[in-house]
Symmetry: C2
Subunit: 334 residues, 2 copies
Amino acid sequence: MRQTLTYPNRPRVRASAAIAGAKEGAGPLGGDFDQVVQDELLGQDTWEQAESELSRRAIALCLKKGGLTPSALEALLCGDLLNQIIASGFAGRALGAPFLGLYGACSTVVEALVLGGALVDGGYRANCVCAASSHFCTAERQYRFPLELGNQRPPSAQWTATAAGAVLLDARRDKAMARLTHGTLGRVVDYQIADANHMGAAMAPAVADTLCAHLRDTGRSPADYGLIVTGDLGCIGRDILLELMKERGVPLEPGRLVDCGASLYNKEQDCHAGGSGCGCVASVLASHFLPMLADGRAARLLVLGSGAMLSTTSSQQGQSIPGLSYAVALEADT
Amino acid sequence: MRQTLTYPNRPRVRASAAIAGAKEGAGPLGGDFDQVVQDELLGQDTWEQAESELSRRAIALCLKKGGLTPSALEALLCGDLLNQIIASGFAGRALGAPFLGLYGACSTVVEALVLGGALVDGGYRANCVCAASSHFCTAERQYRFPLELGNQRPPSAQWTATAAGAVLLDARRDKAMARLTHGTLGRVVDYQIADANHMGAAMAPAVADTLCAHLRDTGRSPADYGLIVTGDLGCIGRDILLELMKERGVPLEPGRLVDCGASLYNKEQDCHAGGSGCGCVASVLASHFLPMLADGRAARLLVLGSGAMLSTTSSQQGQSIPGLSYAVALEADT
């Protein structure tokens, strides 16, 4: 299996938690989040500290739901979009757990699940939390424009979600929310997109690449999954993925392909192509899709994170924006 | 073992490679590097692309020395200091291998070895490359001041190494350079250092924390290691570590504690407290310490990466600089 890891012991998803901002709370999935915070500063002095607090709270809540004290947590695999992943770093400092900093852009929580799955499956860790966060205010000012500028956004733009999600994996055998069966690594794929407001187009080729690798490696077909869940391709990226998979001879059933970003906001919320950010797939997976496996509404899901390796430095130097995607296969713990 | 992973199959270090810049090549370890590049742009248009090329070349050379074609590489665990780890991302794009983006600041290559060790030991990957890079010109302008400013540097400042190092791990059983026996995860440790020119002080407490965890978890003492190798504490951070370990009742023998950063430059090279950067420990481990295990000059080494979670954003917001450290235990393949 060239890109796919198989977890014979099927690490259990013991708990998950998601906390989202007010705008996300007002969207179609608002009722699923464990908490919706109305104060975008979360009582902190800066948006960056607020994002870190969002991450910390989601992780702490996930541990609480899973009945684990912070001191019993054996690894925290964590990342975000900020330079030097400061939201995660400061959350890790507050929690005191063994920390593994990751950067897979918006696919980070799935990268964390692939690695955390191996650590738990192989007996290297008894448990771990996989988490990621994003915040509209921190990401927009870091990657695009000062918020005070009130820039108009093109229709292809996505809205960075203010949200954090955390998933607790463990090696226990009692019935859990779900089981992790496979993780597929992604390659850095570049279709030469250079527009920082067209992330779906930058990421869709990477998702297609990882999805094809997953199906090839496992011998499965798209029909083996009740749903194929993508991270934050948005409406445009989702359409591109459908096209790319058709071209590759593996057409997807549109009704069974759900994008977290495209599902996060109502049309009236003016978020154009949909949601994005590390916290998008992390929070929607934690609060919407994992519960579907837990209560029997779904038997098996494939979740593909989608990341755009966007950097203001490389963009200003004329470089394109490569994409990156990781996948995990999850099944009900029946 | 609370923070330490044990690798029962002892993944083999099949090959390692390091490429360094002219200044590093003129230092005491200059003769050890596989290549020394005189052109700090490596024929590229920008320093960032140059760092990415440095990383790509080191990884490609490591694969070549290990007799592995790039298409047979099963995972590239990689990171650097640049925002969104663009040096690694673009190197990953060029190499086409399954990519795992990491951020552990200057300890990244050791974080990669801890995770890569588990992936290979557990049979999830037949091989992987763990790599990291840094470049004086990219790091200084991102973290501190424009180079053109010609700022004076305080005595506690360290010099970001222009260097990249790569280590190939595999699951084969034939005699190799070395074997990986343990990996110890680090926690985010903060002693409230806020001076971006005093990294050794920010990192030393994290190194002490991880070192104590490693010794506690494994039941080993410092004397069980021929050498304890730290990443880039520099002269000042190294002295602080010696103090901290004495305070904790685990004094280290100064003659058996070697810091890669403190060893990288001659005193006349005006690098103050020593070298730093992801590429520092990566290149010195790959070109100086792993060969010592390979040719019998050392039987067992403990290598501790040291990272400072420095961010211009959080520093400007008045936050301190937390430290992070990972450790790997390596032994000769006798």
